[in-house]
């Protein structure tokens, strides 16, 4: 979302404009969801983190110092709350089993929701392949791309806040990850 717009919408929402708040939710909730999903939270945990982030944003609305950076505020909060969930798992189990971090949602597989979507029927095979190759990318690339694919596209400042990586490294890393994904798709197509 355009940052000037975000700043103006936050100000209007502070002044009591519910439509402005709704526009903020429309424009920024895909970013929040992407950050949560980038951290591979289960459905239940992802829902709780998402709610916590938005409830807290509503509380802080009139207190946010830089309203035009509300997207970064949301991304940072979503990241911190996601990391707390992951710390909670580690605390519950004495191991450092990295597979724990790979816990994904079990109640709804991508394949199922794909079948649910008529819109996707025509190109479902292509989308399915793309998603599978994306899921199998290294963790760093998978995380970055999951945040970048929020709609509307996040700014690099928001991506930086979401993942705790320097703004300057996002461009090169993005290029590399997309190139790697392209190579995997091409290799698969050729075989």
């Amino acid at each position: 979302m355009d940052r000037a717009d975000v700043g103006a919408l936050v100000q209007s929402a502070v002044d009591g404009d519910a439509a402005a708040w709704k526009a903020l939710v429309e424009g920024l909730s895909p970013l929040v969801w992407s950050v949560v999903r980038a951290h591979r939270l289960s459905d239940a945990d992802a829902h709780e983190v998402y709610q916590t982030v938005w409830f807290r944003f509503a509380q802080h609305l009139g207190r946010i110092r830089e309203p035009h950076k509300a997207g970064s505020w949301l991304a940072t909060t979503a990241r911190n709350e996601s990391l707390k969930v992951i710390r909670g798992w580690q605390r519950l189990t004495p191991t450092d089993d990295p597979h724990l971090l790979d816990r994904v949602s079990e109640d709804r597989t991508p394949e199922q929701s794909l079948l649910d979507s008529e819109e996707a029927a025509a190109q479902s095979e292509r989308v399915r392949r793309l998603w599978q190759e994306f899921e199998e990318l290294g963790e760093r690339c998978r995380q970055l791309l999951r945040v970048l694919m929020a709609s509307p596209p996040p700014s690099y400042q928001e991506v930086s806040a979401a993942l705790g990586i320097a703004v300057g490294s996002i461009g090169p890393l993005r290029q590399r990850c997309l190139r790697r994904l392209r190579a995997r798709l091409d290799a698969r197509g050729a075989s």
């Binding site: 502070v14 916590t52 509380q59 979507s117 994306f134 400042q157 290029q175």
Partner: protein, 179 residues
């Protein structure tokens, strides 16, 4: 939406066509590489919209959360969370979560256990406390802190919670937390 060049992020000083990535030569090659990358990213964006969209019920909850925008209450911010600020004892599992919220002179210590919550107001004082569970409170559970500032009660089964305290003439609400 076609944001291949990410032109809507005008203030994003670092444009996405940031090349200098590796051995590419002329600019046209770079542009072409960026064009391809932009297309692939857009394809991923469409795939995410189909395979992993924001669940509609969550979007609605976020819209409804506007009701939680409460300027009359003082906000007690989280200043300690054992999940972040405490080093776990080796081998200790199932340790209770300890949270501290502060605003001005008032602090609220909360311990979350499997059975609910136990709390302490400092400085010690009586209070009426509502346990909020979201933007649509059916009828929030109400607790009472005694003259020593102690309180205990249950938490919502799922979802984040916040405490709304009335002490003396004041209303204080804690930041929303996942238990």
């Amino acid at each position: 939406m076609n944001h291949i060049d990410n032109g809507d992020n005008g203030s994003n000083g670092d444009n996405r066509a940031a090349g200098a990535d590796d051995g590419f030569g002329g600019e046209s090659v770079l542009d072409e590489a960026e064009f391809g990358a932009g297309l692939l990213e857009e394809e991923l964006r469409q795939a995410a919209a189909i395979l992993d969209p924001v669940p509609p019920e969550l979007r609605r909850l976020a819209v409804d959360a506007y009701a939680l925008h409460d300027l009359d209450a003082r906000l007690a911010e989280l200043t300690f969370d054992s999940l972040v600020d405490a080093i776990p004892v080796r081998g200790a599992t199932d340790v209770p979560r300890m949270l501290t919220f502060r605003t001005g002179e008032l602090s609220v210590d909360v311990e979350v256990t499997a059975h609910g919550l136990i709390g302490q107001l400092l400085p010690p004082q009586p209070a009426r406390i509502e346990v909020l569970g979201g933007p649509h409170p059916a009828a929030p559970a109400t607790l009472t802190a005694d003259t020593m500032g102690r309180f205990a009660g249950e938490l919502p089964r799922t979802g984040p919670f916040a405490l709304r305290l009335r002490t003396g003439g004041e209303v204080v609400v804690t930041e929303w937390m996942r238990a």
